[in-house]
Amino acid sequence: MTERATEFREPYEVPELSAEPVSRQRGRRRVPLTLWGGSLLLSLAPIAAFVSFFWTPKDPTAQDIEQRLSSPGQNGYLLGSDGFGRDIASQLMAGAQNSLVVGGLGVSLALLGGITLASLAVIRSGWLEEVIMRLSDVVYAFPVVIVALILSAKMGPGNLPGILAVAILFTPVVARLVRGSAVPLFEREFVLAARAYGRGRTYVFFRHILPNLSALVIVQATVMFAIAILLEASLSYLGLGVSPPTPSWGRMLRDAQQFLSVAPWVAVWPGLAIIVTVLGFNLAGDGLRDLADPKLHRAVR
């Protein structure tokens, strides 16, 4: 739900990229605090997910009705247990897998689709560019939740509607971003030089232009990843996510709602997990943007 328009001051304003191609940048820029902090936070989830493949404090799906709703620290449950006696800490770790899968696949598909579309538009030019502009205008403000709901109605519950919703909605956005940033680069000296060598537009696009956009693309990727994680949590909360007993942060919150008065911590932990991870991606994205183009934010520092 906390989808952000990009951080640019006006929509679609593309920041000026550095005057020199990436390969020739000199000196080391100071890595902003946001990047450090954000990367730290966002790495918690993948680490937890990775570790959970090999080890979790207890089996995340193992039930123990006798010990249900144990408070944190009681009965050997680090963060407490849920309504079926399952260990919340273990479920958080295993649930990270699910969130990251949705985020990873959704973002990858969006990037793939967007870059492909942009490359076609740039290399061919013509009507495709118009189409991308119109399309991204339409989808830009459209809530990803509704797209995911439509897909769920058709496909049934699971992770796929969320993944596809992110992919579908953000492909035009990525395409527009890449295309918009690529076009001015075609006028740069290093590109003109390559063209003088006889290189075709395709070669130039992939070999010279795209690498220069990598920072931009990664920043956009962090934004999309954050949105994808929130979307997966929302869908699971509504009962449309992955089926039990596969752990999912959103479904943990759904199950926790009935215990708000007797065991509120069951709802606190999964929420914190989501916040920490999404915050991590947001901060990292901010930091990367600052790193890539401090000019943009120099005035506001």
């Binding site: 009962g239 039990p244 709602q257 007797v262």
Partner: protein, 506 residues
């Protein structure tokens, strides 16, 4: 803060309020502000329609049966038949013909008189309407005839013990042909309450019917609210917004409510039987050993605690205390070791993969989770597929489709054991000539004792065959504000809450 800011703030705050207030003249008349008004929070989802003869929704039965719409006979808390719209009845010696003498002076809510024609109409349309979920209950009826304006004769194809039970539940509801068409939005009946208003998405309001044939209702009005969130129901009770919490669905809050002296705690029996149903036609579930293994693997006490706060009554057969043939017989107590042993003897020592279909938004869903974990402990890997109710009803609960292996579900009508008679043996495809013979004999029994004996044997046979693994029979966990007097403490027949004797002390 600058004045302009206050102005902006004021506008921003007022705008949505105005928007909302513009809707305040929508539809309804002024709310009923009467003293003797009872507000109940139902535990069931709001019914999609108010036509009890067209929908299987339990919420309709809960509110309308005996209150708005009546049957010829009523079942009381002790399981005895009492006269309602039928003042008396006679059964022929061959037990195939029932002659009902109808009460005189009964009026429908629209003022028209109740006659035998209405009974004939109700039964005939229920029997012949293919969309009616109750059509099957009339399969045993040969014909229905009016014998003058105050008597109806029903002739059955063969003696049937369950016939009268069915007539006391939703199948036997009497409507008038003149007003049956509007039943979906404005049901007309003969009961002590008449339908007043349906605030969709919120509540249904009934008011006292002054022209009722019997003792007038003590309440002026009843509002049944449909608050989906169990916590919100409890909070509404604590806040004084509602007077009765029909059935607590947040069992973990029971302790808090019981400690509160403003409320009376009433635990009532229901016929809602929660269980794991097995499709015995699908291999390997057609193997008795496999089913027995599943039965031994289930710890029903844990299911009761985890999903119903421990308020259910554990059962071992497909029966609840309100069924006459109820027995405490339980052939498969929790024994995971035995389950594993049986499984390997059936040839599945390496484990087995099964699928449990559950109903979303229903107690069936958490029950499936608990069951899956319990089955997992004995080597049965159970995958859970949650379905919405409509899909579940059309693909699992439908005997001609029966696309499932295992499903968790609750069944709430009386004498439902009849459903297992084959063909088709209900949606579980149970085929047993022995069971059929027992049920036929029971249905033709001459008296209650014989019926009970035979039906009980059939129930035990069903339990032995591990066709359905019962968990527990639900109790109603009801909390009533102290000033409410006369709330029924006996079991609910077909989920209905009988409000006739309820009143509110000043």
């Amino acid at each position: 803060m600058p004045r302009s800011w206050l102005r902006v703030a004021g506008v921003a705050a007022i705008l949505p309020v105005l928007a909302g207030a513009s809707f305040s003249s929508d539809g309804a008349s002024a709310p009923l502000q009467v003293e003797g008004r009872l507000v109940i929070a139902s535990e069931l989802p709001e019914p999609p329609t108010l036509d009890i003869r067209a929908s299987g929704s339990t919420a309709i039965a809960q509110l309308l049966i005996y209150n708005v719409q009546e049957t010829l006979v009523q079942l009381d808390g002790a399981g005895r038949f009492r006269p309602l719209l039928a003042e008396s009845w006679r059964v022929s010696p061959n037990r195939r013909t029932y002659t009902f003498k109808l009460r005189r002076g009964v009026r429908f809510h629209d003022g028209s008189a109740f006659t035998s024609g209405d009974v004939v109409y109700s039964f005939k349309t229920a029997k012949t309407n293919p969309a009616s979920p109750q059509a099957g209950r009339f399969a045993v009826v040969e014909f229905v005839k009016a014998r003058g304006p105050r008597a109806v004769q029903v002739t059955l194809k063969r003696p049937s013990f369950r016939f009268l039970y069915d007539m006391a539940q939703r199948a036997g509801v009497i409507v008038s042909g003149k007003t049956a068409g509007q039943a979906a939005s404005h049901p007309i009946g003969t009961g002590p309450f008449k339908f007043e208003r349906w605030n969709r998405g919120s509540s249904i309001v009934l008011s006292r019917f002054a022209g009722y044939w019997g003792r007038k209702a003590r309440l002026d009005a009843v509002e049944m609210r449909y608050i989906a969130d169990p916590n919100a129901q409890v909070n509404a009770l604590l806040a004084g917004d509602i007077d009765v919490l029909s059935n607590l669905r947040a069992p973990d809050r029971a302790a808090q409510l019981r400690a509160n002296t403003s409320f009376t705690f009433i635990r009532g029996a229901t016929n809602a039987k929660q269980q794991l149903s097995i499709n015995v036609s699908k291999p390997p579930l057609n193997n008795l050993r496999v089913r027995q293994a599943i039965a031994y693997a289930i710890d029903r006490r844990a299911v009761n605690v985890a999903t119903f706060g421990g308020f259910g009554t554990l059962t071992g057969t497909f029966a609840a205390r309100t069924d006459p043939y109820f027995t405490t017989y339980a052939p498969y107590p929790y024994n995971p070791a035995k389950a594993r042993d049986l499984l390997s003897r059936a040839g599945f020592s390496g484990g087995l993969d099964l699928e449990i279909k559950s109903i979303r938004g229903n107690i069936s869903a958490p029950q499936a989770e608990v069951v899956a974990a319990q089955l997992g402990r004995v080597g049965i890997r159970a995958k859970i597929t949650e379905l919405d109710f409509a899909t579940w009803a059309s693909t699992v609960f439908n005997p001609s489709v029966a696309n499932f292996q295992l499903t968790t579900v609750g069944h709430s009508q009386l004498l439902e054991i009849y459903q297992f008679v084959s063909p088709p043996g209900w949606y579980q495809q149970y085929r047993s000539t022995g069971f059929n013979r027992l049920m036929t004999a029971a249905d033709s029994a001459a008296d209650l004792t014989t019926f009970t004996r035979l039906a009980r044997r059939a129930a035990m046979r069903l339990a032995d065959d591990a066709v359905t693994i019962p968990f527990f029979a639900e109790s109603t966990v009801t909390f009533v504000r102290k000033r409410v007097i006369g709330w029924p403490v006996t079991g609910r027949i077909d989920a209905s809450i009988d409000l006739r004797a309820v009143r509110v002390a000043p």
